[in-house]
Symmetry: C2
Subunit: 339 residues, 2 copies
C-alpha cells in the first residue's frame, strides 16, 4: 500500500497537480477553480484517502508548523503542567510540538535547540537551564522566534512569559506575617537564576516593609547537588537558633518535599510545632497529613500565552512581549490558619 501523492490524485481525476493543490488548500474560489472540477477533486481525495506529505510541503513552504519545546526537567510538576497546556493550545492552532528535556544541563539544552533548529521548527518555547545566557544570545542572532517561560535573564531582552516571582513571594510572605509569624525562615537554592533570586528579594522586602528584622541565619542556601543533606542541615540550623523560627517558607516545591520529609522524620508537627509555606504545589502534598498552603502558578495561562506569543512572532508580528503573571495562594492548613 504505497503512499500516494498529489500527482496520483491529479492523474486519477485527469487534471493537473496545481488544481488539486488549490482545492486542497481551500483556494478553490480564489483561484477560480470550476466548481464541478473542485468537487470531483474533493471526491477523489476522499475516495483515495489521500493525505498530503507534510515534509514536501514544509520544504516548499519553508515552514513546518512545528514548535520546539525544551523543559528543564520532565519530572517537575511545572514541566508536565506547562507541557500539557502548550500541547493543547498548539494543537488548536494546528501546530505539533517537538519536545525535549534538558535535565538542567546547559549542554543538553544547547544540543536540543540545535536539533530543533535543524529540524526547522517554526519557533521555540524554552525553559532555560542555569548558565544558558550564551545560548540565548546566540539564538537572538539567528532569526528564529522564541519565547522563554518561567525563567528569564534580566540582562537579555527577550520575549517571555513568567511569573512575577518577586510579587508572588512578597505576597506569600505577607500572608505569613499577617498570621502572626515573626521569625520566618526562607529556604532557597544557592543559585544564579533570576526567578529564584526574585523570590528571595520578595521575601526580604516583605519582612522589612513590615518592620521585621531580617536575620541572615534564617536564609540558608541549598546546593542542588547536595539537596537532601543540605536541607536537613538548614532545617537543623533554623530550628536551633536561640530565637528559633516559627515558620519556614520553601522557595520551590522540591525543597518543600524534602523539607517535609525531614520534619516527618524529626516528628515535628505541621503546623503545631512549625508553620510551612511552599512556593508551588505538588502531587506529593496530597498524602501529607496536613494540607500545605502554597502559592500556585497559573500554568494553563502561561502555556497558552507562550504559544500565542510565539505564533504571533512566527507570523512576523514585531511584538515584544514581557508578560508577568501573578500567583494565587492556595490556602491549606500548614501555616496554622485554623488556629
Amino acid at each position: 500500500m504505497k503512499k500516494l501523492s498529489l500527482k496520483d490524485v491529479a492523474q486519477h481525476v485527469g487534471v493537473s497537480t496545481a488544481l488539486v493543490s488549490y482545492v486542497l488548500n481551500g483556494q478553490a474560489v480564489e483561484k477560480q477553480v470550476n466548481k464541478d472540477t473542485a468537487e470531483r477533486i474533493m471526491a477523489a481525495i476522499e475516495e483515495l484517502n489521500y493525505t498530503p506529505n507534510q515534509i514536501a510541503k514544509s520544504l516548499k513552504m519553508r515552514t513546518t508548523n512545528t514548535i520546539g519545546l525544551v523543559v528543564a526537567d520532565i519530572n517537575y510538576r511545572f514541566s508536565t503542567g506547562i507541557t500539557r497546556a502548550i500541547e493543547s493550545e498548539s494543537k488548536k492552532r494546528n501546530y505539533t510540538v517537538i519536545y525535549g528535556s534538558s535535565n538542567e544541563d546547559e549542554n543538553k539544552f544547547s544540543e536540543l535547540i540545535d536539533v530543533f533548529v535543524n529540524r526547522r521548527v517554526d519557533g521555540l518555547i524554552l525553559i532555560p537551564s542555569e548558565n544558558s545566557q550564551d545560548q540565548i544570545r546566540a539564538l537572538q542572532k539567528s532569526e528564529i522566534p522564541f519565547v522563554l517561560i518561567d525563567r528569564i535573564f534580566p540582562n537579555i531582552k527577550t520575549n517571555y512569559i513568567s511569573l512575577d516571582n518577586f510579587k508572588a513571594s512578597y505576597k506569600a510572605t505577607e500572608y505569613l506575617i499577617k498570621l502572626g509569624h515573626k521569625r520566618i525562615a526562607f529556604i532557597n537554592y544557592k543559585t544564579t537564576m533570576f526567578h529564584l533570586q526574585e523570590r528571595t528579594r520578595g521575601f526580604r522586602e516583605a519582612l522589612s516593609d513590615h518592620k521585621l528584622t531580617i536575620a541572615e541565619t534564617l536564609l540558608p542556601e541549598i546546593l542542588s547537588a547536595n539537596l537532601a543533606k543540605d536541607i536537613q542541615q538548614a532545617i537543623d540550623n533554623v530550628l536551633h537558633l536561640q530565637e528559633p523560627c516559627d515558620a519556614i517558607f520553601f522557595a520551590t516545591d522540591t525543597l518543600t518535599i524534602h523539607g517535609l520529609k525531614y520534619l516527618n522524620k524529626l516528628k515535628i508537627k505541621v503546623p503545631g510545632d512549625i508553620s510551612v509555606l511552599s512556593f508551588d504545589g505538588s502531587d506529593a502534598f496530597e498524602l501529607f497529613y496536613c494540607p500545605i498552603t502554597h502559592s500556585k502558578q497559573p500554568l494553563e495561562e502561561m502555556g497558552k500565552l507562550a504559544v500565542n506569543t510565539l505564533l504571533d512572532l512566527v507570523n512576523h508580528s514585531k511584538i515584544n512581549m514581557q508578560i508577568s503573571l501573578d500567583a494565587d495562594i492556595v490556602i491549606g492548613n500548614s501555616c496554622g490558619e485554623s488556629v
Copy 2:
C-alpha cells in the same frame, strides 16, 4: 543571516553539490573524493557553520529520523518515566521524538497518530487508550512500524514491551499472604483493559494457590469517571464486612493515592489498622508517614527496549517481539513488615 544551503558551501569551495554531500555523509573514501578536496570542504562547512536542512534530507531519503510517542496521560508517573527513557535512548540513536498525550481519549489517540503519520515519523511507540483496538488494526494495515508499551490487546498480534502483569500481581499478592494476611481486598478499575484485568487474575490465582477463599466482596471495581467517590465507597465496604479485611492491594498508583487520602481522613493507620500494597510507586508516597510497599516497573528498561525494538523494525528487520518484563517489589513498611 539567511540559512545557507549545501549549494552555498559548494560554491564557496568551487565544487559541485555532490562532493559536498558525499563528505558530509562520511562517504568521502567510498566515493573516492580527493583527500585534499575533502579537507577543503570540511573546512568550509566549519567556517560557514553550515548545517544541513533536515526537511530536504527527509524528503529525499523518505525517512525523518523521528519517532512518534503517544502516552496515555502526561500526568502519570509512568508516562514521564517512560518518556524520559525513550527520549534519551532515541537521542543516542540519533532520533528525535515527537510527543503527545491522548489523555485516555481514544479519539485524541487516533488524531495524534494521524498527525504523526502525516509528519512521516519513521515509527510509533504507543501506550494505547482503552477501546483503541480499531485504530491499532488500522495501523497494522499501513506499513508504518510501531510498538505498544504497557498496554496490549491480547487479540491483536503486535510487537510490544509490557510488564507481565499477571506475574507481578501474583507475586505481590503472595508477598502479602506470606506476611500472614488472610483477608485481602483488591481494588481495581472496572475496565476492559487487559493489563489491569491481568492484575486481577494474578491476585485471584495467588489466593487460590494458597488455599484462601476469594470473596467477591473484597474485589470492588472503581469507575474512573467517579474515582474519588467510588474509592471511598469501596473502602467503606471492605472495612465493614463482618469479616473485615486486613490488607488492601491497590491495582494502580492513582488508586493507592486516593485510597490513602481517604484512610488518612478516616484516621485509619497504616499498617497498624490495615496493610496497604500498591501496584506502582508515586512521588506522592514520599510524604505519607509510612513508606508504601509497592511493585515497581522497570521503566528505564521498557523505554530502552521499546526504542530498540522499534528501530529494528524501522530497519526492516522482520522481527516479532512480544516482551514481558518482571516487576520488583519495593519493600516499605505499609504491609506490617517490621512488626
